[in-house]
Subunit: 235 residues, 2 copies
C-alpha cells in the first residue's frame, strides 16, 4: 500500500490517496478548532488518541452490524480507510441538552431528553454549517430521500449501541456528530471519526466533561480528559 | 354572542373571549412588524384585507376537508373562531427558495424546489423563533409525536390545495407560514391566518411581489399589493 498525494485537509485530519483507488489513508492531526474555526489551537497527543479511539469504536460498531469506512489502523495517527465521497451533512444526535441546543432553544444544559433528537447541519463553511432538516438535505441535493432514510436509521442504531457502550465505561454520551460517506460501489458507511472532538462525554459519577468542551470553554486539563477517554475505551 | 375581555394581543391580531367558552373573537390590526419585531410600521387597510382573505381561504379549505378554527366573519376586521390553544410552532412550507432560506443556506431566491420543504420554528420571542425539527418539537413538549404527524400531513395537503388555488389566480405560492391549534374537544385545526403577511405571493407573469416583502424590503406600493391580492382571491 503506497501513500500518494494528499487530496484533502480538514480541521483535524488529512486524507491521502493510495495506489488502490478504493482506499485512502487518513492522518489525524493535533490541531483543534472551535466555533467553526473562530478559535484555533493544538491539543498535544490528540491525533494519536482520536485515531486509536475511532479505530476501537469502529471495530466494535462493525461487530454489531454497522458498516464503517475503517479497514485498519496503520500507525499511531494513521488509518487505512475505504475511499468514500462524504455526504456534506453533519449528523447530530442529542440524548441530553447541551451546547448549541441549549443556547438556541433555551433548554438548560444537562436536561435529559425523553427521546433522542436527530439533527442535521449542512457542511458548508461559507454559511457556518447551517441547521437544516431532511427536506432541506434532499432539496439541496446533499442526498436522496432514500439515502436520508438509511442515514437516519443507521444513526439511531449507532446511538443505541454507543449509549450502552459508553455507559459501561462510566460515561454519559450527551451528544455526538457523525458523518457518512458513499464507497465506490455505492454503499453508505459511517466515515469521519468518533472521539472527544465529536462527542460530549460526561463522567457518570462526577459529571466531569471529558471532551472538546474543555478546549471550547477554556476549562484546562484538556489533554488529560482526552487521555482519560482513551483509557476508558481501550483500558 | 358577547365580546368579553381581550386575552391576547399579537403583532397583527387581538384575541377576545366571548360568553361561549368554545368561541373567540379575533380582531385584525393594521400593525406590521418584520425581523421578529425589529422593524415596526402600519399598513393602511391591512386588518380588513387579511381578515377578509383569511375568511375566504379558510372557507375554501374547509370545503376541501381541512378543519379550521373559523366559524364566520363578524365585521370588516373581526372573525368568530373556535377557541383553541395554539401549538407554539411556526409551520413553514417552501415551494421556491426565498427569504431566510436563501440567506441561511445560499440557494438563490427564485430557485424552484423539486419537492416542498416542511420547516418548523419554535414560537419563542426570547430566542427569535429558532428553527427546529420534528424531534425538537416533541422533546420541547410543543406537541406529541402523533400531533406532529397530523400537523405535517395537514400542512402538505394544505400546500397542495393552496398552490393550485393561487395558480388559478395568477399567483405563485412561494412559501407560507401557518399555525395550528387544539380545540376544547381536542381536535387539531388550522388557526391563525393566511394572508400577504404570512405568505410569499409572486405574480406568475411579472414576478411582482404581492406580499409583506414589500414592507420588509421597503419596496413601496405595499397597500396596493395587499389590495391586489384581495381582489384576486375575492374578485
Amino acid at each position: 500500500m503506497k501513500k500518494l498525494e494528499q487530496i484533502y485537509e480538514g480541521k483535524a485530519k488529512k486524507v491521502f490517496k493510495t495506489d488502490d483507488p478504493d482506499l485512502y489513508i487518513i492522518d489525524y492531526k493535533d490541531d483543534a478548532t472551535a466555533g467553526n474555526g473562530a478559535k484555533k489551537g493544538t491539543i498535544a497527543g490528540k491525533g494519536v488518541i482520536n485515531n486509536k479511539m475511532t479505530c476501537s469504536i469502529y471495530k466494535m460498531l462493525e461487530s454489531k452490524g454497522i458498516p464503517t469506512h475503517l479497514v485498519k489502523m496503520l500507525s499511531d495517527t494513521e488509518q487505512l480507510d475505504k475511499a468514500v465521497t462524504i455526504f456534506p451533512l453533519e449528523v447530530i444526535v442529542r440524548n441530553t441538552a447541551a451546547g448549541s441546543m441549549s443556547k438556541r432553544v433555551g433548554v438548560p444544559e444537562g436536561t435529559v431528553l425523553t427521546e433522542p433528537i436527530f439533527e442535521l447541519s449542512y457542511k458548508n463553511d461559507d454559511y457556518n454549517d447551517p441547521l437544516i432538516n431532511d427536506d432541506y438535505a434532499v432539496a439541496l441535493n446533499l442526498c436522496t430521500r432514500d439515502e436520508m432514510s438509511q442515514i437516519r436509521e443507521m444513526t439511531l442504531k449507532i446511538n443505541d449501541i454507543l449509549k450502552a457502550y459508553f455507559l459501561e465505561k462510566g460515561v454519559n454520551l450527551v451528544d455526538f456528530k457523525i458523518e457518512f460517506g458513499k464507497t465506490n460501489d455505492g454503499a453508505i458507511v459511517l466515515a469521519d471519526e468518533i472521539s472527544p472532538d465529536t462527542c460530549r462525554f460526561w463522567d457518570v459519577k462526577t459529571g466531569e466533561k471529558l471532551d472538546k468542551d474543555r478546549f471550547r470553554r477554556d476549562m484546562g486539563n484538556i489533554e488529560e480528559a482526552y487521555q482519560e477517554m482513551l483509557k476508558r475505551v481501550d483500558g
